[in-house]
């Protein structure tokens, strides 16, 4: 597999961040828990394609996006429901609805595939946003790695207050108490129906933002910018995205 490089970056990229991005790309192209490497790579390609999709452009401009019907412009053979999920995530995530998610799942995309697709798409969005922000082209998506998904659903995952099942704090196994147990925020358990996807995404978060432990430590400066500066950027991005969480 091609190892992602930042030799063309306009500024030096710290080593732990480079290595986290290399792990993320490698993970993205490898077989997941429910999806093959080829499907995961196709998801990344659809994320990049969504910006040019005429249906997505029309929906984004519409006051009532759910009234705009049509077919997505695609670059893959992914099922329609999966393309809808990826394109809406990439272009108009603030107006997603519980019924919309359930309809995608009832149309054939399993709950586990839904969650893993979200994880892969958001990993791609994060890596591409970093490249765009720092001033370099998006990295080439790696070739898919052969292999079969393990297709193991955590027995402790149950339907809770989110739109898909997750591992509730009191249900976390001993091995997952640190990541999904009591005291852990809901965002960290969001992808817990597919634990490997949750662990992988938050490996990226730990190096781009802060680890769970670092988040609780307001006295230590872990980055070149202060904690207040970090949270200001985070807050402004989330406000622009109209994310209530």
């Amino acid at each position: 597999m091609t190892i992602v490089s930042y030799e063309d970056a306009p500024v030096p990229i710290r080593l732990d961040l480079l290595e986290a991005h290399q792990r993320a790309w490698q993970r993205l192209a490898s077989p997941g828990t429910w999806l093959t490497g080829a499907t995961r790579v196709a998801i990344a390609q659809e994320v990049r394609n969504a910006k040019q999709c005429s249906l997505c452009v029309e929906r984004k401009a519409a006051l009532m996006p759910y009234n705009v019907t049509g077919t997505h412009d695609t670059v893959s053979d992914l099922p329609e429901a999966q393309v809808e999920l990826i394109h809406r995530l990439a272009t108009d995530s603030a107006r997603l609805r519980r019924n919309w998610a359930r309809e995608l799942i009832e149309s054939g995309l399993s709950e586990e595939e839904y969650v893993e697709t979200v994880g892969v798409a958001c990993t791609t969005i994060s890596l591409d946003t970093f490249a765009y922000a720092v001033g370099m082209p998006s990295r080439e998506i790696p070739m898919p790695v052969d292999g079969d998904p393990k297709k193991v659903r955590p027995t402790e995952a149950k339907q809770g207050d989110a739109w898909v099942p997750w591992i509730a704090p009191d249900d976390a196994s001993d091995g997952d108490r640190e990541t999904f147990g009591p005291g852990v925020s809901n965002i960290r358990r969001a992808l817990s129906l597919v634990p490997a996807e949750a662990h992988g995404f938050f490996d990226l978060v730990s190096n781009q933002y802060l680890s769970a432990e670092q988040m609780k430590d307001f006295a230590t400066k872990f980055r070149a910018i202060t904690r207040a500066q970090i949270e200001l950027i985070a807050g402004r991005i989330s406000a622009i995205n109209q994310c209530a969480y």
Partner: protein, 97 residues
């Protein structure tokens, strides 16, 4: 979401808000100018860290939106007033989570 003004009590706050807005937008020149200003003020390491934060939240917001996770119980009451004041409770994602 409206335009932000001032530093908000955070050193170089206005500059960082402008950088975040440029990253979220599609004006390449605005982003280049904002990037140059951040680099000149906070150094290359500061730029990289600012980019990492923006990259994280541009993705994590979409996870929250698509999984429909509720606001954590411990945060619900302490944040109620400012969520109301800032109009966050009116976000479509808040109405659906």
């Amino acid at each position: 979401m409206g335009e932000a003004e001032g530093d908000g009590g955070v050193p170089n706050g206005a500059m960082l808000v402008n950088f975040a807005e440029a990253i979220a937008g599609d004006d390449a020149q605005r982003l280049q100018d904002a990037r140059n200003e951040v680099t000149a003020t906070l150094g290359a390491d500061g730029l990289v860290d600012a980019c990492g934060i923006a990259a994280t939240f541009n993705a994590i917001d979409r996870i929250a939106d698509s999984i429909g996770i509720p606001i954590d119980d411990v945060r619900l009451e302490p944040t109620a007033e400012f969520r109301r004041e800032l109009g966050i409770d009116a976000f479509p994602s808040r109405l659906e989570s």
